[in-house]
Symmetry: C2
Subunit: 253 residues, 2 copies
């Protein structure tokens, strides 16, 4: 396996120190400023850090952040369009459930000023939303899955089965008409399924690039959803097929 190199050293330093200068990393790694800058360019291209003229941080969350105001008004990704549409379905006073994921995090970013209750399995979403006073946040609890930094396991499931949200937003890495929403581990599949259990409205938020792929465990059949929000890059045939299904298909963008 990959050995512990200077890039790992920089990453570990960034994990412990919020905002860092090149100078600090020079001291921590005993490399030259030029080398550190070259490393930072690599890490930046990987998308794991953010840089300014004079500062570096780990991208703990808030992925693919446009950094200049120019960019804010263009380069909307599919996920952002999907999140826009999803957020519009939420009304003040609602209780909503947010599955772990970047699309659901995008939804979270759009509801910060709304008086609502949110239940989530995602540490990033919980921490992010808990900074806004109008929002009451509940995290389901349980063992933390390293890759997604979200809760998995029976403990969180038991909480989800006790709660009846107005809307449950579920994201995924793979979905298809045949296999439904699938997940790579049984644990993750179980939590995802629990999100769909008690909600009045169950909404899949998934971009078209994830369509027609699948992982080992089926979590939720598509006909369990009341709505699916996706982007406008599905092919015509698929579109036709999905429009005949019992759920409402929303095309964002």
């Amino acid at each position: 396996m990959g050995k512990y190199n200077r890039l790992d050293q920089i990453m570990d330093y960034l994990k412990i120190h919020n905002l860092v200068t090149v100078e600090e990393l020079v001291i921590a790694t005993e490399a030259s400023p030029a080398t550190i800058r070259r490393d930072l360019i690599k890490l930046d291209q990987q998308g794991v850090i953010s840089r300014t003229h004079g500062g570096v941080t780990l991208n703990r969350f808030i992925p693919a952040q446009p950094t200049t105001s120019e960019k804010i008004h263009k380069n909307f990704t599919e996920k952002q369009l999907i999140a826009d549409m999803a957020a519009q379905l939420i009304k003040p006073g609602d209780s909503i459930a947010l599955d772990a994921g970047t699309t659901t995090l995008e939804i979270a970013k759009r509801i910060t000023q709304m008086p609502i209750r949110v239940i989530t399995s995602d540490l990033h979403i919980a921490l992010f939303l808990s900074e806004f006073k109008q929002i009451e946040v509940t995290i389901i609890g349980g063992k933390i899955d390293d890759s997604s930094q979200s809760c998995i396991g029976e403990h969180g499931r038991s909480l989800l089965l006790q709660i009846n949200p107005d809307i449950s937003f579920i994201s995924c890495n793979s979905w298809s008409l045949n296999k439904g929403v699938t997940a790579p581990t049984e644990d993750k599949a179980l939590i995802k399924a629990s999100f769909a259990e008690k909600a009045d409205r169950v909404i899949l938020v998934a971009d078209s690039s994830k369509y027609d792929s699948y992982s080992l465990f089926t979590s939720i059949r598509l006909n369990r959803f009341t709505d699916i929000i996706t982007d406008n890059h599905l092919d015509a045939q698929t579109l036709q097929l999905l429009q005949c299904q019992p759920f409402t298909l929303h095309i964002a963008g």
Copy 2:
């Protein structure tokens, strides 16, 4: 109450954008660079943000971070000394429970390379430790308390009562021989008490400045603890009193 001013605007911008430049804030607030810098100096003095020459972030956690290498080797606070001592009591393979708080977060920072299991109520600790592969993290779940960004309520308590850690580290804002460890709300007191329930060793980590103050709810009597770790600023009389108690008193520093 205070109205929504430019400082709030800056803070809200920082909550959504990880790493930010003065230029961005100029655009977001429609103020001049000079004004933004003056605001940032204020926020920096309040300790809520970190600055470099060219970047600003919110201090999401990792409090009172020394920013230059000089400072790393001096200015150790009492909390850090306490955390040093606490971390030394942890052995590879242990299961430990970490109460919410900055002292326990300091402990977390010292055990990142150790193969252990950690259970915590604190979102920051959970998120922080979940980035290190050797550590298995569990969060107790429940409603998030805004002020401490940690879990409170019955759901998390039920998890704590199912788990038997080797050591439970408990922090507090107020402690005394008479009233024990106290907390401002019943919810918080209950969670804290639950941390002390099942652990083999129950350790209070609290600096001396918090001694002899109290809040409304008593959470844990001092004689429930097996150890107390504090700093060397307790007065002689108190010291003598505490040394006669059944717990082991550790003085850090």
